[in-house]
Symmetry: C2
Subunit: 331 residues, 2 copies
């Protein structure tokens, strides 16, 4: 569990995309964001107050989150001075980078000296059990995709926001590094040891009130040769009552796999349902979520209308048009 609120560290981000982790936190948990810290030359700006670590600490921040990524996911030497400054100002550090804070001797020394914490969300922080498959109380909805990186996290976060706005009981359950930084907790599923994948997701989505929904962040795709096993563990561990199909319509092949075509939404639906029924025979596909960023507004509307007609269920871009229709379908 990472203490909030945050100071978002944008470092020397060469463009806004490099700060997309910080952008995600800003978009989905603005109440957790006290300010931003930009170094000289930073080309990202989240329109938050610029603060030093000491100013952020005085304003109530508890953790400085590294919200910027660079090639190789390393902790840039150029950042070190301000990372140590944050620890000395009384802030913990949190990072989802591939290279770990805990492997940087100078940061470890500074954290020990100041009594602060280093949170590396790239790797699991606890031992998970082997899944037991026992039926749990409460409800769960899971986003599954025709491919990786088609908007599963944003879909889940948008649904959680809409559900809470309606007074429904809903909790976004993060299964990836960015999601964990956004919410402050979760399971970094891609870094969990194979035998414990499904168990980690059972642990993440425990018994709950009968009318409570866990909105579970999807990972990978059943049709992605590199990561399909992670996806199936997520389906069987989360015991979904409802599935949302996620898609990106302009992609010419599976991400990172030039020889692989994306499956149809019908194929994804059929396969996902078939496998999810192993753990919950009552599971249903309730809606389609499309990342239409690559389409114009008219084109997006027409595309979504066609999908609705073809599939007999709501099809929306939750980031562009809101998740109301998906939540209607859940209710």
């Amino acid at each position: 569990m990472i203490d909030t609120p945050y100071l978002l560290f944008l470092g020397d981000a060469p463009d806004p995309l490099a700060a997309k982790v910080a952008q995600g936190i800003r978009d989905w948990r603005p109440e957790h964001c006290v300010g931003q810290l930009r170094m000289d030359g930073c080309k990202a700006d989240l329109k938050l107050p610029d603060m030093t670590p000491a100013e952020a600490a005085a304003a109530g921040a508890r953790t400085m989150v590294i919200g910027v990524a660079n090639r190789g996911g390393v902790i840039s030497p150029a950042w070190k001075e301000v990372l140590v400054e944050a620890l000395e100002a009384g802030l913990d550090l949190a990072s989802g980078l591939h290279k770990l804070l805990r492997d940087e001797p100078d940061l470890v020394t500074a954290a020990e000296r100041t009594g602060r914490g280093l949170h590396d969300v790239r790797v699991p922080s606890e031992a998970y059990p082997i899944a037991n498959g026992r039926k749990r109380s409460g409800k769960r909805v899971l986003a599954i995709g025709t491919d990786c990186s088609v908007g599963k996290m944003y879909t889940a976060l948008a649904m959680e926001r809409e559900m809470r706005a309606r007074g429904m009981k809903a909790t976004f359950r993060a299964t990836g590094q960015t999601g964990i930084l956004i919410t402050g907790s979760g399971v970094p599923l891609d870094a969990v040891v194979a035998d414990f994948m499904a168990g980690s997701i059972e642990h993440l989505t425990p018994d709950n009130a009968p009318d409570h929904w866990d909105v579970v962040e999807g990972q990978g795709s059943l049709f992605h040769a590199s990561f399909s096993g992670v996806t199936l563990a997520l389906i069987h561990g989360s015991q979904p009552d409802a599935l949302i199909l996620c898609h990106e319509p302009t992609r010419s092949h599976m991400r990172g796999l030039p020889d692989y075509q994306l499956p149809s939404l019908a194929s994804l639906s059929e396969t996902g349902l078939h496998l999810a029924r192993v753990v919950n025979p009552a599971v249903r596909v309730v809606g389609i979520s499309v990342n239409t960023a690559g389409l114009g507004e008219d084109e997006a509307r027409a595309y979504l209308a066609r999908l609705e007609k073809e599939n007999g269920m709501p099809a929306v871009d939750p980031y562009r048009h809101g998740a109301a229709a998906l939540v209607d379908a859940l209710e």
Copy 2:
């Protein structure tokens, strides 16, 4: 890679079943077995010459394999003296136990002093790549099961033996601890980090001669809520040309999951084919392998005959009746 041949350590096995790892090595790689070492009270006997480590080393042994398991998978204090004696006699040690040889300070010290190796096959010994899904040369056959522990490893080993006896090019590819100890190498898939599961299997089954078969050991089951993700990674990583369906007909529920029924062979076939076609559209289900240990001879024959008729493909117990019909179906 573990050096062969072996001295098989049976320790203080309370019954033959406790030495089933050693039994597997004895059954499938008798040419790797120089002798056995039994401590006082050992109730297992593989009918190999009883040897001290020094005698085994003199007879050519290179490694002493811990072929006995106990509750908790710990390295018993009672074994320590003879484990150190083996290192001093010039043998490496190999273990598939949950507790690692490398975590025992006295063994580490003795290994360093003697210049011998400690092989813990429970955990990966190398860094695996992320799967790339690229089509590889050579052929691959994979055993998939209606449940865990239904005879997938024995099926693969029996097929490899039959294929080699016919002069076919065939290599058993181990994906579990016992399989690794039997062959001396492989991938301990259940201990691989999620992101690298499929990649580890691509690494295990590389490009090969067009007429060479990798006979890949299956793991888990697509229908087992705890381990299904491991199974799907294995299907997508191994890029199978042929699938063998494995089943145990007397089981009343999925292993370790009292609330879960086993799927039908037809359902396993359909699901396995559907998912395997993602990586190889030409994949076929070629045969059924049944562990009939729980059935009498007449009952087993009748059951297998009925399966053959119902499914239109060979159905055999390869341990009981040989794998010839499965290999015929491959050819």
